[in-house]
Assembly symmetry: C2
Homo-oligomer: 401 residues x 2
């Protein structure tokens, strides 16, 4: 008897017709397997609940998590009905009924423990457990939520806890693509990808999987499959690097339009000035990505450029403007009209010239590079937003994707 | 320290503005009291959830109760936020978090036990507990619901369990009226009413309180108050008969348009025939109310007339038509164009002539009586639906209401 975890997101469960379709997909996976199906709330439902909370400016509390976790209760109940109607022995469970024990951090709780024994007991009487994603219960008996995208995390955590053969994440696309098919029609579905590559892709803009869930899968060496709930085709498997026989030098090109560039010029260049600036950012929970520092031509002052998430635009501006006492500078400019383009691949580690090819390609297309950041399996550059499409298309071509 | 239970229904909690208003009402009742506030789901929400279930023709199951009880989770969370914003120490709780233990009957569960100790503990840290109405948990850890109108029952059960001083049921009317103000503009709010009178009024059409909740209050001798969440006036108190110093002969006139009349004529009059007919009704869960039996003029056959709830119209027709083997009859007719008019009052018990006055009044207005049923404190008659308004108005007048 194998155990498989299947997860369906909000667009896949929006309405009774879609739930009936999912019931058929679930039944088709039964054979001799026991299944845990993780569901989100219907698309739009969590936004509606969030809007109620916004009217009260309420967040990160017992109350906000109680309100936000009510949507899954509806979808799991209805899918279990649809399964029973197909003759499948099914039981719906909420997070606290397993229980999925979490810490006390409302709206961003971390899973501490999952009661495997209880799941085993349910599998004595039922073939399918339909489980509410996104939610758990803390030690004081309050409902908690894992944060937006948390259903992916529930799926991976459950799959790891019960030693599932794999965890299938159903979405509205066929899998992970070499780049965004909306920009490059030649984008191809990737059949296998390492956790590291998927992580880099997630964090650089490919919105297929929640980063936390990929990290958790990697930690537990759990095979993930990203596939479509519509087309019924094999999707993209996300596996351990060792299982990738032939490592692609570049697996994909991703982009992100959520960055903003911050430039501070004429900083008095003293030791510790970087620590001061980035200490200030950290204090205010502003994540900083790419950093470029130049000594200016006068040899005394420096210019500092870095990127932040666009949502922190206003906060960053205020924080730096109010910090003149901490460090002196001549001018500050912020720019949202930038894009981050990344090429990602496991093969890069053992292959020289990948970065060079990227820079040359961009130069040939007269695209200016504003900042660079690299990891072992990723090169990212910041460019003017208007060049996004041409950069993605030409890079996709030169790396033969 | 007194404990007061307050209950607000679906129309009172539909939307954030209304919830803010309720928070003010709740705060005004705090003083030195500890409060438990029972809420329904937002008006329309339970209907939406019911419609999902109807699409699957699902009822009375783990799944249906899971789906139906999701709405209160939203309202209790939001009201607790609104209370915190007014500086009130408040905690939201779901049925299972108390827990409110029920039996296993999905969609019509009965409360078995309420954990008073836990409520006491919460009152050490909080002044207000905002509790989800309508729901509980059974011994196997599944969520159950108490049936439509179940929030009234939750309120009364909680108030009884914690020895609350009283239980205030907030609605969109000022209290219980001598009759429906929409029909008779001279209808007056009743200041005090016995449980028995309220029960008769509920079951004969005044839709203010759920019958089960009144029965439970009577059993526990708990004072109920029905009052408006809009006008902030003292409402109608429902108390033990002994507390009514001056018993009104007739307290109110109520009516119901939900009845249907069933007439079976030409039944072969043998001993046990009534038992057969009403046994058949009971087997099919059809509630029978007024019963009139006449021997027909031939002296051999009998005519039987009784009333049922309109929702059982089709079922009753089919059941009787298919029962020719059980008992023979000449013809069957069903009629929805009837109304039940009732006069209710504790003083009736010790006062002759109440029924006579009713029959005379109706006769004077040329209203034919199709059936009669009486209890110690109630007289009901079945009439043609078209006479409803004139019957209510004239009866309201002759009893000086």
């Amino acid at each position: 008897m194998n155990k498989i975890v299947m997860k369906f997101g909000g667009t896949s469960v929006a309405g009774t017709e879609k739930l009936k379709n999912i019931a058929k997909i679930v039944k088709s996976q039964l054979k001799n397997n026991k299944l845990i199906v993780i569901l989100s709330a219907m698309a739009g439902e969590t936004n509606k609940l969030q809007s109620y909370l916004d009217e009260f400016q309420e967040q990160n509390s017992i109350e906000s998590d109680l309100v936000l976790t009510s949507g899954e209760q509806v979808t799991i109940g209805l899918l279990s009905v649809a399964l029973k109607n197909l003759g499948v022995k099914s039981i719906p469970l909420l997070g606290w009924q397993v229980p999925i024990l979490t810490d006390e951090n409302y709206e961003k709780a971390k899973i501490l423990n999952i009661d495997k024994k209880r799941i085993k007991e349910y599998f004595l009487n039922y073939d399918v457990i339909v489980l509410a994603g996104f939610q758990g219960i803390n030690l004081t008996g309050k409902i908690t939520s894992l944060g937006r995208g948390g259903s992916d995390t529930t799926a991976v955590a459950i799959a790891s806890a019960i030693d599932a053969e794999r965890c299938d994440i159903y979405t509205d696309v066929d899998g992970v693509f070499t780049t965004d098919p909306n920009i490059e029609s030649n984008a191809k579905k990737i059949s296998k990808l390492s956790y590291e590559e998927m992580l880099e892709m997630s964090s650089t803009g490919a919105k297929v999987l929640h980063t936390r869930s990929v990290e958790l899968a990697m930690k537990n060496n759990l095979t993930l499959q990203v596939l479509s709930s519509i087309t019924n085709k094999t999707g993209t498997f996300i596996v351990d690097e060792k299982e990738l026989i032939e490592k692609e030098i570049v697996s994909g090109v991703s982009y992100s339009n959520n960055e903003a560039k911050v430039s501070i010029s004429g900083i008095l260049d003293k030791p510790g000035i970087s620590a001061k600036i980035f200490g200030l950012m950290a204090e205010n929970n502003i994540n900083v990505d790419m950093i470029v520092q130049n000594i200016s031509q006068d040899g005394i002052s420096a210019n500092m450029t870095f990127t932040i998430n666009q949502k922190d635009y206003d906060l960053t501006k205020t924080v730096i403007e109010n910090s003149k006492k901490l460090f002196d500078y001549k001018s500050l400019s912020l720019d949202k009209k930038v894009a981050k383009i990344s090429v990602i691949g496991m093969g890069m580690m053992s292959q020289a010239g990948v970065a060079e090819k990227m820079f040359k390609t961009l130069a040939k297309n007269s695209i200016n590079i504003l900042a660079i950041s690299t990891s072992e399996i990723k090169i990212s550059v910041l460019i003017d937003k208007k060049h996004t499409n041409i950069a993605v298309k030409t890079l996709h071509e030169v790396y033969n994707l």
